[in-house]
Every structure is written in structure tokens, then in C-alpha cells.
Amino acid sequence: MTQSSPRTLFAKLWDDHLIQAESESTPAVLYVDLHLVHEVTSPQAFSVLRERRLEVRRPDRTLATMDHSTPTTPRGADRRVPIIDLKARAQLAQLERNCADFGVPLYALDNEHQGIVHVIGPELGLTQPGMTIVCGDSHTSTHGAFGALAFGIGTSEVAHVLATQCLLQRRARTMEVRMDGVLAPGITAKDLILRLIAEIGVGGATGHVLEYSGSAIQAMSMEERMTVCNMSIEAGARAGMIAPDDTTYEYLAGRPYAPQDAHWDRALARWRTFAADPGSAHDRTVVLDASSIKPMITYGTNPGMGIAVDAPVPTPSHLSDASERRALEKALQYMALTPGESLLGKSVDVVFLGSCTNSRISDLRLAAGVMRGQRVASTVRMLVVPGSQEVKRQAEAEGLDEIFRAAGAEWREAGCSMCIAMNGDELRAGQYAVSTSNRNFEGRQGKGGRTFLASPLTAAATAIAGTIADARTYVRGR
């Protein structure tokens, strides 16, 4: 494609970072502006560097944090916490050693900026429009909300980027996802993205980068846009992106790593060029009417198995495709659900408010709004896990922690927590949870645990009711 033909947002970023174009026999060499690192997917990459006597090429474009296997129990005055799990402790110590040896900045547990990697990048202003951003983590797609090309990579590729600041890539196709209309009261960005994934399926966007557009997207705050882009990977997409606009620039202004003064004006002029050209063509287009969306919830064992909260659980015998029928039967068996049953009113054991999808301050505000002056049902354990220490401080400054605590919820330290259940926060076998995280795979939140993915509003309403609740009733009722 020549420079003069109209280009998609993805095409602009791709062209802008191309060191070597792809050919039939070789992939493209793509430059990476920002590389985020965490404890779980990096140790073997640093080992490769050691084996080959290589250095980290650009420590100044690399940032590490601890989030996946870190405890969220209260920390001491030094912000440290004893880590009982020996393997997790060894892995965290390895990250500290690797960062020290290779000169990579690390926001360890005792750092005021520590948090989930996809929460702190944007919060610190590291994530900026026009950048290529990678991390050994599939939810790197989150950062696409800023008009960045951001995607998850494997550990071998983490080594590639550490050593060369580059990746070998084949160009992805693009899919435009246009969402127009106004979300009804009680409906959130999470419901919108769950609906999209239910519509196109968990493999629906494989090989594609999603470009979100339309009035529903434009009306969203940055945090809502991050929720949408975060779950792009759950439709199989390589990345999700939204063109930057004034909402983006307002969010970034004044953040610690955002450009300042004269640099800001120069950056802004550049950022404004990152929009799809009129007339640029996508390989596919999907259109969704945002105003028709109801609170969404998953009933099965992948994020595409989602329904409106007031809809019946699907019936396998209604499916014509044999393998889809088998998958649904297996999912319902794991979830111990009956075809046709209603999820509304179903008892749950745990409510988890957190994860890189929904642990930002606006998510906590939404939930606190529903829970103010209310009690978590006595049969429910509720965990509230802020996405970063910054979110935690902000929530405490606003008194949100008091609302949660007074309701009987647990107010925890920042981390991935029960989203991935590596740190001791986990479901017991057979337990049901409503979770604001992004994956309901078998065992994801603890071996044998059963997950219903939903929005922070649905999570809060469910915590109070003790059973799966329709968030709209709680929002209207206030």
C-alpha cells in the first residue's frame, strides 16, 4: 500500500515502526517503543540473554512490575509482605535480580507505582498514542485504547525485544468494530465488549487487529475504552485500538511520563495524525447497536459464552453444529447449569472486583455507588482488589474503601489476584463467582471454580443480593 492511499490507524502505526518490510520469505522487523515486563513470563527470557551474553538494548524503553503472583494481603509499613509460596517468592526474587543485573527499572511491591502492568502503564502516562507496546501478556491489548498498537507476545519474543527492541511480525488484517448509540443506565463498557465477543465468538477476530469506532466509543472515558480494548484478545484479536482524541489527551496531560511543556505541543501535533484516513478500507466490519445492549454475563467456560443477564442459559440441542453442541454440553456440565435456566437469582459464593479489565478508579466508583450503605450478603465473600497502589490511594482518598469495608467486603492490595489465582486468592472447587475479570476458563480462578464474567455494577448488585442480580434495578433504584 502506498503512502498516498487512505490508511487505517493500524496501517499508520505499522508503517511508522517498520525497520524492514515483510516479504514472501521473511517477516517484517517492527520497532517497539515500550516493553512492559512482569515476573511470570520474563525469567526464561532473561536466561536467554545470559546464555548468549546479550544486554538489554533499551532499558529506558523497558519497565518491569510485579503483579501476577503477588499477595494482596495487607502489607507492612515498608510496604513489604511475607510471601509464603516459595516458588512465587523465588520468581519475584528472580525478577529483582534480573532487573538489577540488566538495568531495567522495576516497580517492586514496595514501590508506590506498583500494580497490574496494564493499569500502571496508562496511569503513569507511559502508554501514549502512536506507540508500539508489547508485554509477555495477552491483555497488552488494553493499551490500544490510546491509539497505540499494543499486543501480547510469548517469552521467546520477550527475549527478542529485550535484546533488539524489535520483533519479527507478519502484518495482521484489520476489522472495524463500529458501535453507535447510547448505553442505557446500568450498562457499562464491560457489557459492550462481552456482547461483541458473544456475537463474533472467541476465535472471531483471529488474525485481525480490531479498530473500534462510532459514537458509543467516542463518548467513553479512557478507562472505559481500556476495558473494551482489554478484552479484544478474548475474541482472538491480535490487538484492539481506538483513535486518540481530546479525551485521550486530557487523560494524559500532567501524568508523570507524559511529555511536558514544549514536548507536549509537539507530541500533540503528532498524536493528532493517528486516525484512520477517510475512505480507508478494513478487511471486515462488524456493527453493534450500543443502545440495545443489556447487562451481560457469561454462563460457560470461555468469554464468548455470554448472554444478557435476563436471558435463559442456551440449550445444546438447539445448536446444529456438532462441535459447538459438544462444547456447550461440556461447559454446562462444568458450570453445573441446566439448559434454559435463568441466571438471575442464582446464588454465588464469591464476588471478585478487580483485574486489568475492571480495577480502575472508575470501576471502583461504580461499584461503591451501588454498595454505599448496603451490606454484602452473609453468604458471599467479596474481594475488592484495586489495580494499582495509585488506584488504591485514590480510592482511599475518596472514602471508597470505607464503603466496601462497611459493606463487609475485603479491601486488598494491588495485583492480579483472583483473576488468575496464582497468589493464593482463589475459588475452591465447585464455588460460583461473579467476577469483573476477563477469563472464565475452567479452573482460571482456582481449580474447579466456576466463573461468571460481568461488569462492576453487576458484581456489586450481586454481592448485595447474594444471587446474580440485574444491575439496572440497582442503578434505577438509587
Partner: protein
């Protein structure tokens, strides 16, 4: 990385679509700093019961699975988490290749980078392979990477797509880091040209 040229092997079938990497290797096994030793934990929650005993009905626990170096699965294999522990666990168990009608993007990259060959065949072909195995567990299949063909026991062949560069690396047993590192002059020139952009 071990070179991959040809493979002649029996296979086991996991007749499920959307097998995610959380099933291939559950997150609690990711607290390792090593690439080795994950084979025992492959599909742990499907393979073992609560007491840790093998579930006899799970495919990998059947006697004929022992020698199989090929896994045949439903579409969108390897979706979800980007964990490279998934191909490490499959390789650690003894698989060298996976057949499916579609692979998730990150999984495919991770597999290729480690010498685990993702063989994408048309859905009808995958069903035929599964049916052949169901009829004769000792059916042998031949994968030839140089010609990118997958052969049934009858000799009938299917072409499968592989990125030419990844194929070259796998045939030679070299990884991609060396290739990238050799681009150093171009990388430096690129950085100089856009200094100050960020």
C-alpha cells in the same frame, strides 16, 4: 531448538474446540523460572483427579497415547493467555506437532519459535484424521516440513500453510533471535532517524 524435518507418528485426539492455554498448562504451574519440567503438568486438570491420580478416561492416560508425538484438536487451539509455557509443556510431554483447523495467533508464534509444529488442516481433513484414529489407534501419520505436507496412512496428502521464515528456522533448528540481532545497523539507523519522536 531441535530441527524439525519429518515426523512419522501415531496421534491422540482431543475432540474439543477453543482449547485455551489455561487448560494446556494451568496458571499455578507458571511459578517456574525454567522452560523444562512442564510435561508432567500438561492438561493437569483434565489429566489428574483431585487426589492427583490419572483419570483413565482422559486421552493422554490411555496406553496408546504414550508413543504419540502428534496431538489432534478442534479449532482455535491455544486461545487465551500468551504463556509460552503451553508449547513448553506440550514439547515436554513429547508432542512435536499439533493438528487443528485453526490456531490462536500468539500460540502459533510461540509454538513455531520452540520447534512445535502447528499443522492447520481444513476442518473436514481434521475430522478424517480423528476418524482414522478412532478406527485404528495405531494409525501413523507423516508430516514433512520441507514440502509442508501431512500424509494419512493411505499416503493421501494435504498441504498445510507455514510461514516460510518460521519453516526455514525449524528445518535448520535455528531460532529467530540471531536473525534479529544481525539487524543491529538498521535498528540503530532507525532509532537515530526518529530520535525525539517519543
Amino acid at each position: 531448538m531441535e530441527p524439525f524435518v519429518t515426523l512419522r507418528t501415531t496421534a491422540v485426539v482431543l475432540p474439543l474446540e477453543n482449547v485455551d492455554t489455561d487448560q494446556i498448562i494451568p496458571a499455578r504451574f507458571l511459578k517456574t523460572t525454567d522452560r523444562l519440567g512442564l510435561g508432567n503438568d500438561l492438561f493437569a486438570d483434565w489429566r489428574y483427579d483431585v487426589s492427583g491420580a490419572p483419570r483413565p478416561e482422559f486421552v493422554l492416560n490411555r496406553p496408546e497415547a504414550k508413543a504419540a508425538q502428534l496431538l489432534v484438536a478442534g479449532r482455535n487451539f491455544g486461545c487465551g493467555s500468551s504463556r509460552e509455557h503451553a508449547p513448553w509443556a506440550l514439547l515436554g510431554y513429547g508432542f512435536r506437532a499439533v493438528v487443528s483447523s485453526e490456531f490462536a495467533d500468539i500460540f502459533r508464534n510461540n509454538a513455531l519459535g520452540n520447534g512445535l509444529l502447528p499443522v492447520a488442516l481444513p476442518e473436514a481433513a481434521v475430522e478424517r484424521v480423528a476418524a482414522l484414529i478412532a478406527a485404528h489407534a495405531d494409525s501413523k501419520f507423516t508430516i514433512d516440513l520441507a514440502s509442508t505436507t501431512f500424509a494419512l496412512p493411505s499416503g493421501e496428502r494435504f498441504d498445510f500453510p507455514v510461514d516460510p521464515f518460521a519453516r526455514h528456522c525449524m528445518l535448520q533448528g535455528v531460532d529467530q533471535l540471531g536473525y534479529l540481532a544481525a539487524k543491529e545497523p538498521e535498528i540503530s539507523a532507525f532509532e537515530r532517524a526518529r530520535a525525539g519522536a517519543y
